[in-house]
Amino acid sequence: MTPCDTTLTQDVESQLVAQAVCMSFSGVQALQGVSVCVGKGEILGLIGPNGSGKTTFLNVVSGVYKPRAGAVLVNGVRVGGRSPHLIAQLGMGRTFQNIRLFGHLTVRENVTVGSISGAKRLGVDHASDVTSLLERFSLDDVSDELALSLPYGAQRRVEIARALAGRPDYLLLDEPAAGLNDAESDSLLKAIMAVRNRFGCGMVVVDHDLHLIMRLCDRIHVLAEGKTLAVGSPAEVRNNQTVIDVFLGNAVKEMV
């Protein structure tokens, strides 16, 4: 059974769908037939041990890698093999595991770059969007500073604001809470929730912080060695014996 069987028949036009995606690097199978779908307004958690293919999956979906087999559809448009910028222009935003800001551009310029493609797609003015995003992520005070001069937590916020500035339908967040302390991680959680409510975009969140994932996500997709191990609600995944055995182990027991 693929996890998308039930939803695929519904509204593909308003979903991000990956069907049986395969990816390999010089013989090593990084993804073996992974199928995922995310609706607008839904937050999907993608978890799994190191090397299970989480970041590879995000890279395939955002066009950094071309999948060896399988298909990716954004709102029903097949994007397999298209360049990242074309996929972004279709409404896909993302952040990176290691923050990748435009270091020598100002914070405002960083966010503006993101807004240009979104404004083009939706035919709207982008300047006001940028200002409100800067306020929303408490970046208005530092908007004229160079991005690389900001502290780590603020850089994470700039990256999310930049991705949102493109007004994406789907947002891929690669370890947004990495390196944040509990308080920062908590406020990030609130910010992501608020973003979902305000912008209504679907999200795929990869993170090692299971506590965050369990609280944040509507559904969780567990990967192991490039294959789907389980899909379900946080409660279902938490109680799935295979997941506990293979990957979660003590972390879940502690939480339960």
Partner: protein
């Protein structure tokens, strides 16, 4: 006319050449500074501009002697100052538009290498198409249409153009690709396309600069559009701070000034009354050392990552805050 302002003709020459150099360094800044990709090939576009200008401005009476291979229709043409500049810019832009179709698709390092190839190819054309370029023998007979004010006006126009481009949407997108091409793509930037736009615009300004330069120096030869010129222009850009237009202007000034002082020292054999041994090439060596020192102590150039007006603005703000603090502190002590 200029004698009243500049006592020496050589000083006038220096200033005019400085403005022309500014145009060339700014043209390089438009591509290299915004995209972060080094181009060795811009001397080719300067050359295209210069040769096109020679073909259009050399007086018809001597044209056939200088350009034996020139087609008859071109032999009839003798234009003034402005039109050759426009045509030179268009010619350089066209050349860049064709070359860019291939070059701009490459990865950053491959692109830099291919511009080196472009320089060599262009040089062998300039060198060997003797019926139209006279190769290393050189072209002569161009009128001196460029003067101080024209050169200054064009340099100022180029500053405005380059800043406008840098601040434009496409300029911002090119700069984002300089910082992180992968992230720029993920943010919806068509990196190849925006680099291509910067490349063509930059070449057009190079061609324009080449035309203005040719119309000042009366004659030139193919070796002038080769490594030495590219290195000099790149050095000025890097010294000033390549991400800034004001960096290009200041870098051109700094290197021109240091070279000129050293050249005079070399010729006269004295510096502020001190005897200096006459060693030919000393000037170039000292310039190289100065550039090295700047790069060691200030790797992002004299201006770093901010434009001159931004620095001035920050300085003024800081001074205002300081004054305000000074004014309020005596009151505090009275209160205390």
């Amino acid at each position: 006319m200029y004698g009243a302002i500049f006592a020496q003709g050589s000083t006038l020459r220096l200033v005019v050449n400085y403005f022309i150099t500014c145009i060339l360094v700014i043209s390089l800044q438009i591509f290299v500074g915004n995209s972060g990709i080094v181009s060795w090939g811009h001397a080719a576009f300067v050359g295209v501009g210069a040769y096109v200008t020679a073909w259009l401005t050399v007086p018809t009476v001597i044209k056939e002697d200088i350009f034996p291979a020139m087609p008859a229709w071109l032999l009839e043409i003798e234009l003034g100052f402005l039109l050759p500049i426009v045509i030179a810019a268009i010619a350089a832009a066209l050349a860049a538009a064709i070359i860019g179709l291939v070059v701009c698709r490459m990865k950053e390092t491959a692109m830099a290498m291919s511009t080196l190839a472009l320089l060599v190819i262009a040089h062998s054309i300039f060198n060997n198409w003797s019926g139209m370029t006279r190769g290393s023998e050189g072209v002569y007979g161009l009128p001196q249409n460029t003067n101080l004010w024209k050169a200054a006006a064009f340099a100022a126009a180029c500053v405005v153009l380059a800043i406008a481009f840098k601040q434009s949407r496409i300029g911002l997108q090119v700069r984002s690709s300089r910082e992180d091409a992968l992230a720029a793509g993920a943010a919806g930037v068509n990196v190849v396309r925006v680099r291509y736009v910067a490349w063509v615009l930059s070449a057009a300004v190079s061609g324009m600069g080449g035309s203005i330069w040719a119309q000042y120096n009366l004659g030139f030869a193919s070796p002038q559009f080769y490594y030495a010129q590219v290195f000099a222009l790149l050095a000025m850009l890097v010294v000033g701070g390549m991400s800034n237009v004001s960096g290009a202007v200041i870098g051109a000034g700094a290197v021109t000034l240091v070279s000129e002082v050293l050249r005079r020292v070399e010729n006269e054999g004295s510096l502020f009354g001190l005897q200096v041994p006459r060693i030919s090439g000393l000037a170039q060596m000292v310039v190289a050392v100065v550039i090295l020192l700047i790069l060691i102590y200030r790797p992002s150039g004299i201006l770093g990552w901010r434009e001159l007006d931004d620095w001035v603005h920050r300085w003024l703000t800081r001074r205002r805050l300081k004054r305000a603090a000074q004014r309020s502190s005596p009151q505090l002590s009275e209160d205390g």
